[in-house]
């Protein structure tokens, strides 16, 4: 069984290699190869899962040592895998959702001439992500970590001819690299402290080191998680990442890659347990991001960017839960899985809408689409109910548990965190209802030609087709696209209930992920009731704003907060002023200095020598007699010197 673990990674990796090196002759079959290998990986995962279920909870962990990767002195990095309940959960989520999205992409990318390459990149992503969750040491995890970053870079910038896509891809990679510094430094501290960076020895011996070291490692891991999971302050790339094709947004920027940070924190739980200060930092980041993302999500008119804000916010929930320690780890992962289902479903739904609407993304140009796209409407609706936490659906179970755990943190901290989580739930309900109403209900705003947008740079101008406005003909998407949506909708509806049945999910993870029951200061029922009230308030407010009144086809100017939220709460402006501009000046200044000062000193020396030679050249006037004089003078000096030396 152990030997199969490597194959999980190898299958999609092979796919990537074949598709990317295969050349044009694979154009016709490439998407099938890619999908087949993703599915093969999923089947392998299922086999391993069945095998795992067949064993006792304690010895479900499998490990496979493939080869020694970097052996230098005490530094021993191995390519070795570890498959336990936590990584199993991820394997199934990644390969399952991954396969569905491969299937979906067959239809979605049908008319793209570079479809083969797209599938190659998707396979590359799967391989890297599986490596990330299967690695049994931090360095190999880092390899997967950067690998998914690369796949994300390639896929965001898939339509490279669009400058905006290329810029967004570059931004994503670079912001992620800033986070990667954290992971590198964390590994270096681990190696310096423990002499190793494999999971089990490090996590088991954390107790032997000082709290300061543990805090340092924890904070560095948090920095890494912030980069990959788009948490404040490294969140700015996620919104722009929506430049990529929609299946990419669904798979990478909603369901899997962005949750890697949560995985990292949960996996390194022992370190955070030993470092309360780092935990506080984690919950703070989670709470701030969940509100930040939610607020941004409220203001966006671009359907994908609204969903991106939502992703950020939901991951904020997970990070918050992961920062709570053993009372929250399992719920972080549970929310991660349910979120994987419904958010992927929502993104695929958004893609399906765009597919039928000539790639229009502005929700103000949608409206009343439920008649034209019944399946999309139904699946998107179920995803919507799941994400806002409608009682009985997936999101309800997982989110409610996180809110409870937040309250259970205890003390003022608990009230603040719980309050933030509740507020977040209300805002989630608001913005998701807004998306729902603007897209599927109300007038059919797309029938009229768009009026040129006024000067509001943050609002994406509607697709200007040049001459005549072409009225779109909304239609349902092909089977290859709707089937995955239906499957994901099932997950969105039932997964949560299934997981919570007798705390099945928590107990499944327990040997790897420690679990404790949290004790909220008020009864669990009260928290649930408060959650439902928050949800109703959010939905109600959205209905008052977007359901009862017609939605203007042009964005109103809006309040100061709205305008700021449209600009992602000024995050880019902040980065621009604080980092980009000074950086540019610094670079330009250095280029100037290098030329003028460093090189100038050298050229100056050369010029000085040259000048001196020019002067001394004048002595050489060409007259033989003057040379003779100097010779005679020289001889005289020599003789004099000799005599003088004698005399002394």
């Amino acid at each position: 069984m152990e030997t199969l673990i490597g194959l999980l990674v190898a299958a999609p990796l092979l796919g990537a290699a074949v598709l990317l090196c295969g050349g044009r002759r694979l154009d016709r079959t490439g998407h099938w190869i890619g999908t087949a290998l993703a599915a093969a990986s999923f089947l392998l995962g299922a086999v391993l899962f069945a095998d795992m279920l067949g064993r006792e909870a304690e010895d479900r962990t499998l490990s496979q040592h493939v080869f020694s990767w970097i052996p230098v002195g005490g530094f021993q990095a191995d390519v070795a895998f570890r498959l336990d309940q936590l990584s199993m959960t991820f394997v199934l989520l990644i390969t399952g959702v991954g396969t569905l999205i491969h299937v979906y992409s067959i239809g979605y990318m049908e008319h793209d001439e570079r479809r083969r390459r797209f599938f190659g990149y998707l396979n590359l992503f799967l391989a890297a992500m599986l490596l990330l969750v299967l690695a049994d040491n931090y360095l190999l995890l880092y390899a997967g970590w950067e690998g998914v970053g690369l796949a994300s870079y390639l896929l965001i910038g898939f339509w490279q001819h669009k400058p905006s896509a290329a810029t967004a891809a570059k931004k994503a990679f670079i912001v992620n690299r800033v986070g990667d510094i954290g992971l590198s430094i964390a590994i270096m501290i681990m190696f310096t402290t423990f002499g190793t960076f494999a999971f089990s020895p490090v996590l088991e011996s954390v107790g032997g080191t000082s709290e300061g070291t543990a805090t340092a490692i924890g904070l560095m891991l948090l920095l890494a998680a912030c980069g990959k999971s788009a948490q404040v302050p490294l969140q700015s790339w996620l919104g722009d990442a929506m430049e990529g094709p929609t299946p990419v947004s669904a798979l990478i920027h909603a369901a899997t890659m962005v949750t890697a940070g949560v995985y990292l924190i949960v996996r390194s739980g022992a370190i955070f347990d030993a470092a309360p200060a780092a935990q506080t930092a984690v919950v703070t980041v989670g709470a701030v991001t969940l509100l930040f993302g939610a607020i941004v999500g409220c203001a966006k008119d671009d359907i994908k960017k609204a969903l991106a804000g939502s992703t950020m916010s939901q991951i904020g929930y997970m990070v918050l839960a992961a920062g709570l320690g053993p009372i929250g780890y399992a719920f972080a992962i549970m929310h991660l899985v349910t979120h994987g289902f419904f958010k992927a479903g929502l993104f695929l739904g958004a893609g399906s809408v765009m597919h039928g609407m000539n790639d229009e993304v502005d929700m103000r140009r949608y409206g009343g689409l439920r008649k034209y796209m019944p399946i999309t409407f139904a699946t998107f609706g179920l995803g919507y109910l799941a994400i806002i936490g409608f009682p009985g659906l997936s999101g309800f179970f997982s989110k409610d548990k996180i809110i409870e755990a937040a309250f259970a943190k205890g003390g003022t901290e608990g009230w603040i965190l719980g309050g933030a989580a509740l507020l977040g739930a209300a805002i989630t309900a608001f913005y998701m209802t807004r998306v729902m109403l603007m897209t599927f209900f109300g007038e059919e705003r797309w029938r009229n030609a768009p009026t040129p947008s006024p000067k509001e740079p943050s609002v994406e101008p509607a697709a200007e087709t040049g001459g005549e406005y072409e009225v779109p003909h909304p239609h349902e998407s092909p089977k290859s696209m709707t089937v995955p949506m239906i499957v994901l909708a099932f997950g969105s509806v039932f997964a949560g209930g299934l997981f919570s049945w007798g705390e099945a999910f928590v107990h499944w993870l327990e040997p790897v992920v420690p679990f404790e029951h949290g004790h909220p200061p008020v009864s669990a029922l009260t928290v649930t009731a408060a959650t439902v009230v928050a949800l109703l308030i959010g939905v109600g407010a959205a209905w008052l704003q977007y359901g009862r009144k017609p939605v203007p086809a042009l964005a109103p100017r809006g309040s100061l907060l709205t305008r700021a939220a449209r600009r992602d709460l000024l995050q880019d402006d902040f980065n621009h002023v604080v980092l980009v501009k000074p950086g540019e000046y610094l670079t330009r200044g250095l280029v100037y200095l290098d030329h003028k000062v460093v090189d100038g000193a050298v050229n100056g020396t050369a010029a000085a020598v040259g000048g001196l030679s020019g002067r001394s050249r004048r002595i050489q006037n060409g007259y033989a007699r003057s040379y003779a004089v100097s010779m005679l003078g020289g001889a005289a000096v020599l003789v004099a010197a000799t005599l003088l030396m004698r005399a002394v």
Partner: protein, 532 residues
């Protein structure tokens, strides 16, 4: 007396150089094939060296020793440790690609237009490349300081002609301007390196004086001196040792190059053709870092420890400064040159961190940087030769018209920014870890280099390859077969050494242990004994 294998590795390209130069003017193509064949044969010999080398055996193997100048104790002494083997293999590996990539670089521009203006340029070009190879190999194999010095300096002559005589035709507006820039670059290269070399010569003589004074008989033999130092027979006064160290180190720091002695590199790499630029940065400059490891640390352990803080700071400045300047460049080749300066900073950082990870990483870094820069630079050269411009702003949207070229360029770039899975990651991470265990602050500062690397590589890729297709590049052909034959093996090697670097680390590790014992350092122990 066994077959002098190391001499053969150096002699083969030397003879090849003479033979290539002697090919008649009309038989240009024959000269090219001859050069390629010689470089391939050298590669085979180098492979034999690598296989004959036993990592578990003596420190120096395949040794040869003959008297050269008896009066001054100069000997023709060769021998390789793991580090030398790795670098000889790198050199022998890269030269065939350099030859193949430069296939048309030295074709006479208009044979009728300028009769007799250049004496058989093609033959000269390839002969000079082979001559450089021979000298570099000797430098890597020499265990006699004087012998090393002679070839370390002699290398400048063919390099001078390669830079000055076969410049990049894509740079300037007209030929006269280009020639001026070229000769400026070549003279700058020569003067910088000569200045460093002369200081080293003084130190070499000083070293001889010290040994003559104390051992009774002067010697240049590295092994003899290191042994005498270890046994206490030879002791150097503190100031003498420091001065001699500085003399050696300056020469190597110019060659490496270390900030602030770096300004010759962007000029030299910018003005020369891409294969020559590869020769400079991937092969010749490696002699500098190699010599730091072998001669500075081996001959002057105490002075090395004394200089470490300053060297580390300079290395860190190089890393950050080179990267920032790379971001600010408008010329593709100069950008790569500044990126190399940043990478040399990493190598020197690793060497002077004095840990097995740092030095092992630095050695791997030399090899990996050679391959990755070769890949990136040669593809950049192919790109430049198509459009006739080195300016980044003259490109855009190339990936649409030449996807393979863009793809290989991206892989070269990703290797430069040390993406895991590609070889440079292994070495860069080792250097970082090795530095961090002894000097945490330096390790953290150096880590910022990886973000800056991402910036300069991706900005370069974005500006040249993505976006709407510029009209000037619309008809750009994709990589030809010859070009693909250059790039594909390099990329395969990058992947191979990134995924499975063990064969290389196995060879390098024992050598690094020896070097560390020369300077009497051991790796710091972990704070906590980890549970197993």
């Amino acid at each position: 007396m066994s077959f002098p294998l190391l001499t053969a590795v150096a002699a083969l390209p030397a003879i090849g150089a003479v033979a290539t130069a002697a090919v008649p003017a009309a038989r240009r193509t024959a000269a090219k094939w001859l050069a390629l064949a010689v470089s391939l044969a050298t590669l085979v010999l180098a492979a034999v060296v690598a296989f004959r080398f036993d990592p578990g055996g003596d420190r120096y193997q395949l040794t040869e020793s003959h008297t050269w100048i008896a009066d001054f104790g100069v000997r023709y002494e060769l021998g390789v440790d793991g580090i030398g083997v790795a670098l000889i293999a790198l050199t022998a590996l890269l030269i065939p690609f350099v030859v193949l990539a430069g296939w048309h670089d030295a074709d006479p521009v208009e044979e009728e237009a300028a009769p007799g203006r250049r004496w058989r340029p093609t033959q000269g070009f390839f002969a000079l490349i082979l001559a450089v190879e021979a000298m570099v190999v000797i430098s890597f194999a020499a265990t006699d300081v004087f012998l090393f010095y002679v070839f370390f300096e002699a290398m400048l002559i063919p390099m001078y002609f390669l830079i000055g005589g076969f410049g990049d035709r894509a740079g300037a507006r007209d030929e006269a301007e280009a020639a001026k820039q070229r000769s400026y670059a070549a003279v700058k290269f020569l003067l910088y390196n000569l200045a460093g070399g002369l200081i080293m010569l003084a130190a070499v003589i000083g070293l001889y004086a010290v040994t003559a004074d104390q051992l009774g008989e002067g010697t240049f033999s590295l092994r003899a001196i290191v042994e005498a130092r270890a046994s206490g027979e030879l002791t150097m006064a503190q100031n003498t040792e420091r001065l001699l160290f500085l003399g050696f180190f300056l020469a190597f720091a110019v060659k490496a190059p270390l900030w602030p002695l770096h300004t010759w590199l962007p000029n030299a790499m910018g003005e020369s053709t891409a294969p020559v630029a590869v020769l400079i940065t991937a092969v010749v400059d490696k002699v500098g870092t190699f010599a730091m490891l072998r001669f500075c640390l081996g001959l002057f352990p105490e002075a090395s420890a004394w200089a470490t803080p300053v060297v580390l700071v300079l290395a860190l400045v190089s890393i950050i400064y080179g990267a920032l300047l790379a971001i600010g460049q408008r010329d593709i080749k100069r950008l790569i040159a500044y990126a190399s300066i940043s990478h040399f900073g990493f190598i020197i950082l690793g060497i002077f961190a004095m840990t097995s990870q740092g030095q092992g990483g630095a050695t791997l870094y030399m090899v990996n940087h050679g391959i990755s820069t070769a890949a990136l630079m040669l593809v950049a050269g192919f790109l430049i030769s198509r459009r006739g411009s080195r300016l980044i702003a003259d490109y855009g949207g190339v990936q649409k018209v030449a996807p393979v070229l863009a793809g290989t360029f991206l892989i070269g770039g990703l290797a430069t920014l040390s993406l895991p899975g590609l070889a440079p990651f292994v070495s860069e991470f080792l250097v970082l870890v090795g530095t961090f265990t002894r000097y945490p602050a330096a390790g953290i500062v150096a880590t910022f280099g990886i973000v800056l690397a991402a910036l300069y590589v991706l900005v370069l890729y974005q500006r040249t390859m993505t976006g709407p297709v510029r009209p000037e590049v619309e008809r750009m052909p994709d990589l030809r077969k010859r070009e693909l034959a250059v790039v594909a093996p390099l990329i395969a090697l990058l992947v191979l050494l990134g995924v499975f670097p063990k064969p290389l680390t196995d060879i390098v590790n024992p050598a690094v242990e020896h070097t560390l014992s020369d300077v009497q350092k051991t790796d710091p122990d972990p704070e906590v004994e980890a549970a197993k």
